[in-house]
């Protein structure tokens, strides 16, 4: 057994254990902490995969940013009061998950034994006249051959591919716009509106609804006087 195998098994068991804790515990804060532990273990897996950049990015993004967001949300919603670990469909969910896992094991698991690229569904579509080596213009490592080392310049290569018109420039730029939209949307959703704004909103909403009802009545759809839908009343509980 190589040291890498030992490390892999230890880390993998830790990650899976932490993940199981995350989905079964009653205490939401501890679930968040265990999620952080799982993320840290996954960073360890990335190190074993020679992707040091992503191990560090994992720590920076998942542990330093997303987990903080989750914990803040837990605090803001008092999410743990009277928390029940499972909902009514838990049994059905467990069955579904077991089936999915079985399928995945059949696809990837030890029984399959080989990972012969030519037999993979997507690649075999091309396989008739194209050798798997050419698929996507990428140098695939054929099974059974020694796996080449990651080039020393992989970070720079990755950076260059992000701004290369023939590679990932479009998704890279789209991400900037996505981030814009996310920021605008999330701020709009989460913002605590000032009381004046809420009153204004409600007035506008009521006006719109009366107009709508008016129009419908004129069109003969709704005979009687316009009655406000319950949503307008329910939104009054927003403080």
């Amino acid at each position: 057994m190589t040291i890498q195998q030992v490390l892999f098994i230890v880390i993998a068991l830790a990650v899976l254990g932490a993940a199981i804790f995350v989905v079964t515990t009653r205490n939401l804060f501890r679930a968040a902490l265990m999620m952080i532990a799982a993320f840290f273990g996954i960073a360890g897996l990335f190190v074993l995969l020679d992707a040091g950049l992503f191990a560090v990015a994992q720590v920076l993004i998942y542990i330093g940013a997303i987990s903080i967001l989750v914990i803040f949300a837990v605090m803001l919603t008092r999410g743990m009061q009277g928390m029940v670990p499972r909902n009514s469909q838990a049994t059905a969910a467990a069955v579904t998950v077991a089936v999915v896992f079985a399928v995945l094991l059949l696809l990837f698991g030890p029984l399959r034994l080989t990972l012969d690229l030519a037999r993979w569904p997507v690649i075999s579509l091309f396989a008739a006249n194209v050798s798997p080596r050419d698929v996507g213009g990428i140098e695939w490592t054929p099974p059974g051959q020694a796996i080449p080392a990651v080039p020393d310049t992989y970070i720079a290569d990755f950076g260059r591919s992000l701004v290369d018109l023939n590679q990932y420039l479009l998704p890279f730029l789209l991400i900037a716009f996505l981030v814009d939209v996310v920021l605008a949307g999330a701020i709009f959703i989460a913002r605590q509106r000032r009381p004046a704004e809420i009153v204004e909103d409600r007035q506008r909403q009521a006006e719109e609804e009366t107009e709508e009802a008016e129009a419908m009545r004129r069109a003969g759809v709704l005979p009687g006087a316009a009655s406000l839908p319950e949503g307008a009343v329910a939104s009054a509980s927003d403080h």
Binding site: L69, G159, A176, R191
Partner: protein, 118 residues
């Protein structure tokens, strides 16, 4: 690369062991006389009223949100910065466009008052 990170792992384990040993040694040396009053939650000599769940401001969440978005921007920009010297004008122009779009996001958040701490 993997051997590079091996030392980080060793460092984590060593630091945890050293600090753990310090804590355990201290717990063996120090006196331990707990009393009910000593173990109460500290609140300037008063008794604590209610539970710890005071209402937090949503502002904390919004600041963390802006931070997250700049964080994910950074992980894309760092590899590009490493490759910067060999990039073409076109590529750099696109990177600048990326950054400017994010600056617009920041200015939007600013205008919407998301960055105000009252």
């Amino acid at each position: 690369m993997r051997t590079d990170f091996a030392f980080v792992g060793v460092m984590l384990v060593t630091a945890a062991l050293l600090m753990g040993v310090t804590l355990i040694a201290a717990s063996l040396l120090r006196p331990k006389k707990p009393s009910k009053a000593k173990l109460e939650t500290y609140e300037c000599g008063m008794e604590t009223v209610g539970d710890t769940w005071v209402q937090f401001r949503v502002q904390y969440y919004i600041l963390a949100l802006v931070f997250v978005l700049f964080d994910i921007e950074a992980i894309l920009l760092f590899p590009i910065a490493v490759a910067f010297n060999s990039l073409s004008f076109f590529a750099v122009a696109n990177v600048i466009l990326f950054i400017v779009v994010l600056l617009i996001a920041l200015l939007y958040a600013w205008r919407k008052g998301a960055l105000d701490w009252e």
